[in-house]
Symmetry: C2
Subunit: 152 residues, 2 copies
């Protein structure tokens, strides 16, 4: 806890993407002996290594160092999982927002179209009624009343 030694290569190795907001300051400390040891294997290499390759690598080193390496590998992998997880959830909300927008567009288009068709319908209806009444007025005055009933 009182040991402030940081990974030597962590700063140059850490960020996966651009990291404008957070100044990357490694926080995990470890023993001095491990610091020297760890610096011989970059985080990038360690992360991409298969478990088999790692076993081959750790065959020649101490039990403790091997455990620390595995632990660090797990952390590095988890870091990437977490990033992926966040990107995924951001993507999800972006998609929802897009879908929302397209639905809104579709809805307003449908309403516009509805208005048009509605006025067309009313137009044809009134033209029909007018013609109907006109025709019956021409032949008999009593049929004008009937016409409005028949108009629908």
């Amino acid at each position: 806890m009182g040991d402030d030694v940081k990974y030597k290569d962590a700063k140059s190795d850490l960020p996966y993407g651009s990291n404008a907001k957070r100044k990357v300051v490694p926080r995990r400390s470890c023993k001095k002996e491990d610091k020297v040891f760890f610096s011989t294997l970059s985080d990038k290499k360690l992360e991409k290594m298969t478990i088999k390759e790692l076993n081959d690598y750790t065959r020649e080193i101490s039990k403790h160092q091997a455990q620390e390496l595995k632990k660090r590998r797990r952390i590095l992998k988890n870091r990437r999982y977490a990033l992926k997880c966040r990107v995924k959830s951001i993507q999800k909300s972006v998609n929802m927002k897009e879908e929302n927008l397209s639905l809104e567009k579709g809805l307003s288009a449908a309403k516009r179209e509805l208005k048009t068709i509605l006025s067309e319908r009313d137009n044809y209806k009134s033209k029909y009624v007018q013609l109907y009444n006109h025709v019956f007025e021409t032949f008999s005055a009593s049929t004008a009343i009937r016409a409005s009933k028949l108009a629908d």
Copy 2:
């Protein structure tokens, strides 16, 4: 770092809401002397304390203990901020989803209505055209062609 003493009251005090998924195991270690000291002040109390009350409280204890208390208070507050932040973002996506659903409903309703009005319009149009043609056929055979042109 080799000191595995945990906060005695952390487990009973930690979760704000139900925490079904994660078994809350305190992870932060501290010195034994602090363990005894910290147990006299619950996390809940420490978090709700104002900075002034904390200062009054820490007047009688050592500099180191006071610093540790402040640090723990900050952690507890941050924990709550993080929770709030998560809830907020969850709420946001829930709201988007709801809005999406209501938009989808609205859209399908509008399309249904559109279909109805469209068939009504076509109905009136054809009735109008039929009547128009019938009328002109009655008076002159040559006007039937003209009728379809005038129908709109």
